[in-house]
Amino acid sequence: MIRFEAVTKAYADASPAVDDLTLEAPTGAITVLVGPSGCGKTTTLRMVNRMIEPTSGRITIDGVDTASMDPARLRRGIGYVIQHGGLFPHQTVERNIATVPLLLGWDRAKALSRARELIELVGLPAALGRRYPAALSGGQQQRVGVARALAADPPVMLMDEPFSAVDPVVRDQLQEEFLRLQSHLGKTILFVTHDIDEAIKLGDQVAVLRVGGRLAQLAPPAQLLAHPADDFVAGFVGRDRGYRALGFVAATLPVRPERTVALGSTVGAGEGWVLVVDDGRPLGWLDTARHPGPVDRSSLALGGTLASAGGSLRAALDAALSSPSGRGVVVDDEGRVVGTATPSDVIAAIEAQRAESAAGGGAP
């Protein structure tokens, strides 16, 4: 656990960059610091590994005051990732990743073999190990940055906008893989971003900072969306927050049974939209008014998005809204059709869920 206790950082004759920050980043969880540019996120992060010394206040890691530790040793025990990975351009990818193990005095062969292990772990081809960073794409460099931070298996990781320099598609991929990695590594992570969507996607809890480095709200993402503490947070969280909040609510939907047909079977012109499946898995919707007769793959309309039975209300509503038939397809864990739900089914479920949480008086 990383604890900030009334931490303030004031650079020479300026108003504080971080002001009286008290915050806990729990062990094994991702705590995201989010806020507009210049609000003190990087300063906050760098105070943890003492690249910047606080003006006042205390930072502890697992109860130990970082001010009492040797800075270089402290830093070797903390993974650090920045934009572009901050890779050493003059060293091969392998050697970059082996940096901290070598600083810790590992034997060179062991450090390099650990590096090769990590190249695989972050999903890079082994051949890249011998290349220089300049030969890698932005996304690949970022993966190397993460691998390098993980090399000595530090319990704590600091990440400063690590995914903000890559294009949206790659960013999405990196975020997914980061979450997958974290789900079995369980590091204590302090993650900085200016992108609220990234914060909500990655954070177990999100700390919203306002300019001047003051904590505006600390809450799990769902709560941030449902109950922003003030206008600043509401404005920062942005549009669609009502809809996005549904992403954190599990759907308990009354699923309607749906008749399904296989490819090659015959349908009549009056049957409306029918769901075509193969071995129980949805292939798409067929408009029988336009394509009566034997079911042919080429006459299928593009299907909508799919909702999984245990998924969120957001996914269920999206499935219902995007389906050409107006009925969203719900599938089980194997991807087999369970049934369908209409937009009004989902709205009813949302209202029921609201009534329930109001009655229970609990958080959404």
Binding site: M51, L87, P89, L158
Partner: protein
């Protein structure tokens, strides 16, 4: 041309002496400039003083410096050490600024990443900052190398032999061939120095030419 062919032995030995008198100070000067430049880089308040202070040394006329050396060092007047030390001073004068520029050319995020990973200051200098500063330092070193080859020639006026001796002797005795040989040999040597610096820098920075 015939003069040169008739004196190949002399030319070779003078060239070798010239190489040592210009080359050794180049290496020594670099070794001195690196720590000075590093301190100036680490303590920004010291940077202007250090850079300007060492830079001023370059404005001392070389003949004066050569003549001063025995007084400062307590060496004999004809001792080549005088030339080596004086040339080292000139090299330092040129290279301190270069080293500071080189260290400043290290990308801030790379430098920060090195600190964040727990490099000590010396290891960071040796393993991260200096390697990345090589292109800038090499550019300054090329200037210093050519400058050294040219300044060393003056040393013939205080009796230390090198290619410059061909110029003084050729002038005094009005031997055009000898004068010309001295000029051409010095030019060629400067060219060789330059190529060596460029080649070494390239060998030391394999990441820049994939």
């Amino acid at each position: 041309m015939t003069w040169a062919l008739d004196h190949l032995g002399v030319i070779a030995s003078l060239t070798w002496r010239h190489t040592l008198l210009a080359g050794i100070p180049l290496l020594l000067g670099l070794l001195v400039a690196i720590p000075l430049g590093w301190v100036a880089h680490r303590v920004p308040a010291l940077a202007p003083v250090t850079i300007v202070g060492t830079g001023l040394l370059y404005t001392i006329p070389s003949l004066a410096l050569f003549i001063l050396m025995p007084l400062v060092l307590g060496t004999r007047i004809l001792d080549p050490i005088n030339v080596v030390v004086a040339m080292t001073v000139y090299t330092v004068a040129l290279l301190v600024r270069t080293v500071v520029d080189g260290l400043r050319s290290v990308p801030a995020d790379v430098d920060a990443a090195a600190t964040a990973m727990g490099f000590g200051r010396f290891r960071r200098l040796w393993q991260v900052q200096l390697p990345l500063a090589i292109p800038v330092i090499a550019a300054g070193l090329r200037v210093a190398a050519v400058s050294n080859v040219s300044i060393v020639s003056i040393a013939s006026l205080i009796g230390v032999a090198q290619l410059g001796s061909l110029l003084t002797d050729g002038y005094n005795r009005a031997i055009a061939g000898e004068l010309l040989t001295g000029i051409v040999a010095a030019l060629l040597l400067a060219l060789v120095f330059d190529l060596v610096v460029v080649g070494t820098a390239r060998l030391l920075t394999p990441w820049r030419s994939p």
